[in-house]
Amino acid sequence: MTSSLMHMHQAGNGRRVAVVAGCRSPFCKSATELKDVSAVDLGKHAVVELVHRANLSGKHVDEIYFGQVVPSALTPNIAREVSLLPQFPADIPAASVNRACASANTAIALGHDQIVLGHADVVIAGGAESLSDIPILHSRRFSELLVNVSKAKTPAQRLKLLSAFRPKDLIPVSPAIAEPSTGETMGQSAEKMAKINGITRAAQDEFALRSHLLAHKGMEDGRLAAEIAPVFLPESGEPVERDNGVRADASLEQMAQLKPVFDKKYGTVTAANASPLTDGAAAVLLMSEEAARSLGYEPLAFIRSYAVAALDPSDQLLMGPAIAVPEALDRAGIPFGELGLVEMHEAFASQVLSNIQALESQRWAEERLGRSEPVGQVNWDTLNVMGGSIAIGHPFGATGARITTTLANEMKRRDVQFGLISVCAQGGMGFAMVLERS
């Protein structure tokens, strides 16, 4: 890189933030192996393992940020639960963050900022999700009834209130993965994007197959396995050590047999080319460059820049990355072509392919970014080299930390200078981050 470009990305007071280590639980489809482990426990597990694997002393940690998208009503601040682990002193402040599927990325970005600002030297950032343990709510009417009954002063009042009870009040309300602003579900959005951008069923299935085969390879050759800390189940003590969504035997023929879920007649999005509901947790260890050096750590990579973008959810919901990526690259001061590795979160094959299309598109550049040139040409040999969320799974709050860990490790293995993360998120948001090796 030229020195002028190097100069451009210098933000704040010039403190560089190192990604020192990362690890995660196995990712398991919800309601399977990890169903009895809560999100908080998964998060604690990932962080305890991170502490051990990095041989970290808890007293060095300054702050903890943790992402969770569907928190339990009983432990709404997962980050504080994690920072109260006995491995840490009790005085580590912590905040939970929710930027949907980019929550852990946001946790990492917040940690980065605190370090750059000089507020912290060592931060743990990550996220967790258990979709086996989502809050099921009472109907509004029933909740109101219960609140009023508890406020009632006399038994007579209580009885009167209770007489208003109707059996149908008991029908529970469970949250759907839908946009509150539009009512459109995530799958419907993906379906819409496939149609608008002309992403075929075959292209989506092929992309999903690639995800499975590469993830399987990463698992077998140990690269993916290296970032997984086995979970021992609470009752039986049995170890869970692998992601259970990865299919070594996946084939296009099998995938072709699946019916589209969101548009039965003309749809192309199926269970096979979308990421599954998943339980899991992941965490990364961030340090200022000086702290890493003085504590004797060799960083995997450094954070060079990041960017967040948002668009109107009634538009193409999951196109945020195609806006955030060029912004992050500008802030990093490098063109797309300098990227040696790219990790794109795979919510849906149609979403990844739509975003790639946009990044390579002249029209997208002109109309949406106000640029004369396309962002860049995606090199398929360096994209999601160990598969992605379609195969590995996607615990909403954790994925960002999983991707950061995977990218940083692989950048070190391949000795790549620049790497990119892109994640789409609910609400029409996108997140991008550029990592570099010195």
């Binding site: 305890v48 502490v51 051990h52 970290l56 086995p230 021992f232 003590g237």
Partner: protein, 709 residues
């Protein structure tokens, strides 16, 4: 001097007990005299309507009577005088003519609780440091300042006997539940609540008591029910003590007598029993054990100026088997350290962690920890097949398979992972530590930490040092063992260390006896009668015959002819009999419970049960094998003192505490008599009984192991 200060607040006197020059409040002769005077003034001063008794110490209310004063007692008459004075003082509180309120924060034990029981009203703080109890029987005496009288009257016979006969302390919350204290408050409110209660009581208010459950009421309130309670208690007691401990039986009788014939009769009996027990040798021995364990708690483990122990915050354990998980759970529970369990197989790691969690869950079930504490502690247990976490370990304990090669490999691997200042310990029970340490680059940081199974229950830890172990390593291991709640003795790296060394000849004698035709039952009964908690054959099954076999080979190798390994045990293991662990040993086992003797075992060891051997000899042969070896090992310097040797035998083997340990027992018998016995046994049964040189020398010079007390 002045241990008491009185301060007036309105009509209420605040009587503070703060014994100068001592960290805790205890009742000494001077304290008694002073309190007598103060109480006299409080009684006559008509402006005083009530008294609040409170401690000026941070963590003690009153810890009890002065033990030194008690130890100095030489005759029954002296003891009787002492206890009568105590009783008079406590009676004085009860009959002060105005309400006395005990405001209890911290330890309230023995005479302290007896004084509190004589008060009109008791308020305790809901604080972990506040505990109440009558621990007298643990020192071979009984609560004799009215404790055997007032406690059953307050909380019922059954609950009172539970406390008195076991001598255990109860936390404030439990004391409140059983009715010993009337109110439970936050420490910040103690004084305020006490004064409010004092004012209420001064104006005639009577506290309502009697929240005992229906079952105990039914039993306590009628003579028949009481008889049932007493009979059951006595039977349970005898089962537990084997009749070797007179104190709990005396306490039981004093409680019963007092309830039948009134407070004064009860006090008279308390005094009479106390006088007798206080100078009895059982109490003398128990007190010496108390002193020895207290001294051991302060002993750094090395001679001369000791370096500061290095604190352990992170513990690595290699080997996730039964020992590994027991050590892990205990370290987490007692020392609060972060434990990383490592094994080569992930499933074993999982089972090890599960085993450790189960131990914690058991504590939860017994309400020793809360649900929240459990969740926190559980998080201190983690593990894997990699060496993650070992780089941050302050201490690593290996608990892998008992094999020199395996242990050496582990040592080498551990050394590659850990920091230079990390201590590496082996939990071997037989292999010389120096051999294990041969392969490492820094042998000065290697030592043995020999835990006993099950780790969470067994109170002893042998810390084994080699010639090269650095003093800072020794003191750190000793300090950590203590943090784990263990009584720690430092032992030299000689085969069998201390406990297995003296246990070996004892267990080997079992086989001689069996093959001579003595039955399993006879052997076990003989040693239970001597005072061991289990007989030697049961012990063999418990330890595991394979383990015994391994240990006896090591001892044979080291000591030759004198410690012939037993062929019988070898045959038993060849037959697949490993003892309790696989349900087949000298006994039969069903569903984890021991059943009758397995008669087929005799055949396997080629024995024909009859009983030609005189019964007296059975007991003497077993015991003297151990005594002789203890004297010999002490002479070799295996333990640092006779004190450590006795404590090791009592806490590690269950040598009868009332006999004070093998060396004190030899002192009581007299070296010359012991030598005579050994000579006689050697003549009858073989040279292995020949008295060791140390004993012979002591016999001729009339020496003792312990100074006379």
């Amino acid at each position: 001097m002045g241990a008491f200060t009185v301060e007036m607040r309105g009509g209420i006197a605040r009587l503070e007990f703060n014994l100068q020059g001592e960290p805790i409040n205890k009742i000494t002769r001077d304290v008694r005299d002073e309190l007598e005077d103060v109480l006299g003034q409080l009684a006559t001063d008509t402006t005083i309507q009530a008294v609040v008794l409170i401690s000026g110490k941070p963590d003690t209310f009153i810890a009890g009577a002065d033990i030194d004063e008690f130890v100095a007692l030489e005759t029954r008459e002296e003891a009787h005088d002492l206890v009568r004075q105590g009783q008079a003082l406590v009676n004085r509180i009860e009959r002060l003519g105005k309400p006395v309120i005990a405001a209890i924060h911290g330890a309230c034990l023995g005479g302290g609780l007896e004084a509190a029981l004589a008060c009109t009203y008791r308020i305790a703080t809901d604080h972990p440091k506040t505990s109440l109890g009558l621990p007298e029987v643990q020192l071979g005496i009984i609560p004799a300042a009215g404790g055997c009288q007032r406690l059953p009257r307050l909380i019922g016979v059954r609950a009172a006997l539970d406390m008195i006969l076991a001598g255990k302390q109860v936390p404030a919350r439990r004391a409140f539940r059983s009715g010993i204290v009337d109110e439970l408050v936050h420490p910040a409110m103690l004084e305020q609540v006490a004064f409010e209660a004092a004012e209420r009581l001064a104006t005639g208010w009577k506290p309502k008591r009697g929240r005992r459950d229906a079952a105990s009421l039914a039993l306590d309130k009628n003579p028949l029910g009481r008889r049932v309670v007493f009979t059951t208690a006595k039977n349970q007691l005898l089962k537990k003590t084997g009749g070797h401990y007179p104190a709990p039986e005396a306490a039981l009788q004093a409680v019963r007598h007092g309830l039948r014939h009134g407070l004064q009769a009860g006090l008279d009996m308390e005094a009479a029993f106390f006088a007798e027990l206080a100078v009895h040798e059982v109490s003398r021995n128990l007190v010496q054990i108390f002193f020895a364990t207290t001294a051991l708690k302060k002993d750094p483990g090395v001679e001369g100026a000791a370096p500061e122990p290095k604190p352990v915050a992170n513990l690595g354990i290699v080997g996730a088997g039964f020992m590994g998980s027991g050590i892990g759970a205990t370290a987490v529970r007692k020392a609060g350290v972060d434990v990383r369990l490592r094994d080569t197989d992930l499933r074993r790691v999982g089972q090890g962690l599960r085993g450790a969690r189960r131990i914690l869950k058991d504590h939860l079930k017994r309400r020793r920890i809360t649900k929240h504490e459990y969740r926190r502690l559980e998080r201190l247990l983690s593990g894997g097949t990699d060496w993650g976490g070992f780089g941050r370990a302050d201490l690593v304990i290996e608990a892998v398979f008992e094999d020199l090669d395996v242990k050496q490999q582990v040592m080498k691997a551990v050394e590659e992972q850990v920091r230079d200042d990390c201590i590496i310990a082996s939990n071997t029970s037989t292999i010389p530590i120096a051999r294990i340490a041969e392969v490492v680059e820094r042998p000065e940081r290697v030592l043995g930490m020999h835990y006993f199974s099950p780790v969470e229950k067994m109170p002893l830890l042998e810390v084994i040092v080699t010639d090269r172990t650095a003093p800072w390593v020794t003191v750190s291991a000793v300090a950590f063992g203590r943090e784990m709640g263990k009584t720690v003795i430092v032992v030299q790296d000689r085969p069998g260390f201390w406990v297995n060394r003296i246990l070996g000849p004892y267990l080997m004698e079992v086989e001689h006896l069996l093959r001579e035709g003595v039955t399993v039952e006879t052997l076990d009964k003989a040693m239970m009668k001597f005072g061991f908690p289990v007989g030697p054959v049961t012990l063999l099954d418990e330890i595991g015959l394979d383990v015994v076999q391994k240990a006896s080979r090591v001892l044979h190798q080291a000591f030759g002819e004198r410690m012939q390994p037993s062929r019988g045990i070898e045959r038993m293991t060849q037959d697949g009999r490993l003892g309790r662990k696989n349900g087949r040993g000298f006994y039969r086992y069903e569903g984890g419970k021991r059943r009758e003797v397995d008669e087929t075992a005799y055949e396997i060891i080629e024995a024909e049960p009859s009983s030609r051997v005189p019964r007296d000899d059975v007991s003497r042969r077993l015991v003297y094998m151990m005594l002789n070896e203890a004297a010999r090992a002490l002479d070799e310097g295996v333990v640092r003192s006779a004190r450590d040797g006795d404590i090791g035998a009592i806490f590690g083997i269950g040598f009868p505490p009332f006999r004070g340990g093998p060396l004190r027992y030899l002192d009581d018998v007299g070296a010359h008599k012991a030598v005579d016995t050994l000579d006689e046994l050697a003549e009858k049964y073989g040279d292995r009984f020949a008295p060791c040189p140390r004993l012979s020398r002591m016999a001729t010079e009339r020496l003792r192991f312990h100074p006379t007390t």
